[in-house]
């Protein structure tokens, strides 16, 4: 019998705290932060054959702790078929080039999704990911999947261990639904939580992905490598089927949604960009343009203070839990603590919560009770 996972259940689970974002509550044998050691024994289909109702998997997982407004089965039942499974092919063997390769295929203002892990900086051009949505990459011994959903303007990274992800072709709230190639579980990108099949209720460990421009990324990371168009697939990478970001136009700039969503919220226009984050306390959104003006925005979720700090070099924001409500001051690109020390936006001495850009409509669709700072 499949168990039901309600919002209340998840809030109860969430009582375990925020450990998952910093170090996962891995429940997989042999698993752990940073990927599996590969010693986990699996039955042929990757599923346990014992009494455990959930599959054994080599995916690094934790208990879900993000706030959910609906039963997970309800998300799954709202899925719409956008394409056939794997009709949007993920990249399984990414090839990287140098900055000069990036310069030859991109304009300075073209969007890229940047990942920096253990000093290794990589840029994933939006114009490539719009055709593939998922890159199953490897950072040393860490299996990382970088995902992008063009319809919701969200780029999120996940630990994947040795397991690869594909595009299910389903959409929930217009958002990419990934599936893992070990258990076939559905993983909506924004939730990062299994909503169907064996791993329902389990959450993936997230990795920060920065949405910025090629010019900004390479100026901050001059030694960066960049994903090339040598993907193994034939696509017209000069063309974006949805519109354009440089300058912004088409679907990305229109007030229309392409697919129905569960919840609509008129506090902002649907395609306005927010920086979203969620913890056991709840979900929060910071209007990105407003954050870039104010440099620092604060919010309170269930009595706990959080703040968002703006990084002008990358035009991005970082979100921190600020349980003691310490007062920070933004001063010409830096943030000064009460004791007078200065920090960059990405290095405040607080607990960082993974945050990512999202079109407002999708954030509000998944998290109707989100706070919004604008």
């Amino acid at each position: 019998m499949q168990s039901r996972h309600s919002r209340r259940t998840f809030l109860a689970i969430a009582g375990g705290g925020l450990a998952g974002l910093a170090g996962c509550l891995d429940d997989t044998p042999g698993g752990g932060s940073g990927g599996s050691d590969g010693d986990t024994s699996l039955s042929g289909d990757g599923k346990s054959d014992g009494g455990d109702s959930q599959a054994e998997t080599r995916l690094p997982l934790r208990e879900a702790e993000v706030p959910l407004s609906r039963d997970l089965e309800e998300y799954a039942s709202s899925a719409m078929r956008g394409a056939a499974k794997d009709a949007i092919p993920s990249i399984g063997d990414p090839k990287f080039g140098s900055v000069s390769d990036g310069n030859s295929m991109m304009d300075p203002g073209d969007p890229v999704f940047g990942v920096e892990l253990d000093g290794d900086a990589r840029a994933y051009p939006q114009h490539i990911l719009v055709w593939h949505e998922i890159v199953n990459d490897q950072f040393g011994d860490r299996g990382i999947t970088v995902t992008y959903c063009p319809l919701t303007g969200t780029a999120v990274g996940f630990e994947r261990g040795p397991v690869s992800f594909g595009v299910s072709g389903k959409l929930i709230n217009s958002n990419l639904v990934m599936y893992d190639r070990e258990t076939n579980t559905w993983w909506p990108q924004v939730l990062g939580t299994g909503v169907r099949d064996d791993l329902i209720g389990k959450a993936l460990n997230e990795v920060r992905v920065t949405w910025t421009t090629w010019e900004r990324w390479q100026s901050v990371h001059p030694e960066t490598s960049v994903l090339t168009e040598d993907t193994g697939y034939v696509r017209n990478y000069d063309d974006d089927p949805y519109g354009s970001y440089n300058p912004r136009g088409g679907y990305y700039d229109s007030g229309q949604l392409q697919f129905n969503v569960i919840n609509r919220d008129s506090r902002l226009d649907p395609k306005e960009v927010v920086i979203g984050a969620r913890t056991a306390d709840g979900a929060m959104a910071f209007h990105k343009d407003r954050l870039s003006e104010a440099q620092l925005l604060e919010t309170t979720v269930e009595g706990t203070s959080y703040l968002a700090a703006y990084d002008p070099d990358l035009h991005t924001g970082y979100v921190y839990r600020n349980p003691d409500g310490e007062s920070y001051e933004a001063r010409s690109g830096s943030f000064v603590t009460p004791d007078g020390t200065s920090h960059q936006a990405g290095a405040l001495p607080l607990e960082e919560i993974n945050a990512f850009d999202a079109m407002w409509f999708v954030w509000a669709a998944f998290y109707p009770e989100t706070t919004l700072e604008e």
């Binding site: 078929r81 499974k85 794997d86 009709a87 949007i88 034939v234 949805y242 697919f259």
Partner: protein
């Protein structure tokens, strides 16, 4: 009663199909209607490939490459109803062609049907003995042609039109191609029946 009707129906249907094939062959043997057929078929095929994104017009120089395993790749699904993966890219100065054998075959099949329909409609309109057919017959053929053509690029069409899709609408898109092809066949039989076979 039923036993006698069934052979009669089969005979009538068989006769109608033979007549349609005969009229179609005749139409393609005439220079003017053959010209209409070739032009319409080519135009429809180019439009079809452009609409599904396999053909684009842009400044690209010259290039050609294939994927490493074209035979199995050709059968993999691609975004869009009935669409399949391209296996090669051909750049010719102002045009980029992503070559998907299945998509080309599908597009060519629909294009041929549209071409024959329009060639027969042309004959029906210009033939002195046509039974009251006018420009409407061409439109009759154009509607299923549009249905068939929009099936494969449906989601892209929604983006352009700014329409929010529901599950019902998406299901409908997956039926557009078979419905369009079916209507093209019906249209072909109907229009060919309005043409004097002795005049082609």
């Amino acid at each position: 009663m039923l036993e006698t009707r069934t052979p009669r129906l089969a005979t009538r249907v068989g006769g109608r199909i033979r007549s349609t094939l005969s009229v179609s062959r005749g139409a393609l043997g005439r220079r003017d209607s053959a010209f209409v057929f070739v032009i319409v078929t080519l135009l429809y095929l180019v439009t079809f490939l452009w609409a599904i994104g396999d053909l684009s017009f842009q400044s690209v120089g010259t290039d050609f490459f294939t994927v490493s395993d074209p035979y199995s790749r050709a059968l993999e699904p691609a975004p869009g109803a009935y669409m399949h993966e391209p296996v090669a890219l051909l750049d010719l100065w102002v045009a980029r062609f992503l070559i998907s054998p299945v998509n080309v075959a599908l597009g060519l099949g629909v294009s041929l049907l549209v071409g024959v329909n329009l060639a027969l409609s042309y004959l029906a309109v210009t033939q002195p003995k046509s039974c009251g057919l006018g420009a409407a017959s061409g439109i009759f053929a154009a509607i299923p042609a549009l249905l068939a053509g929009s099936a494969c690029c449906g989601p892209a069409l929604l983006v352009v039109l700014g329409i929010t899709a529901s599950s019902t609408l998406l299901t409908l898109f997956s039926w557009l191609l078979p419905i369009g092809v079916g209507l093209l066949l019906v249209s072909l039989v109907y229009v060919s029946g309005q043409i004097d076979p002795t005049a082609v």
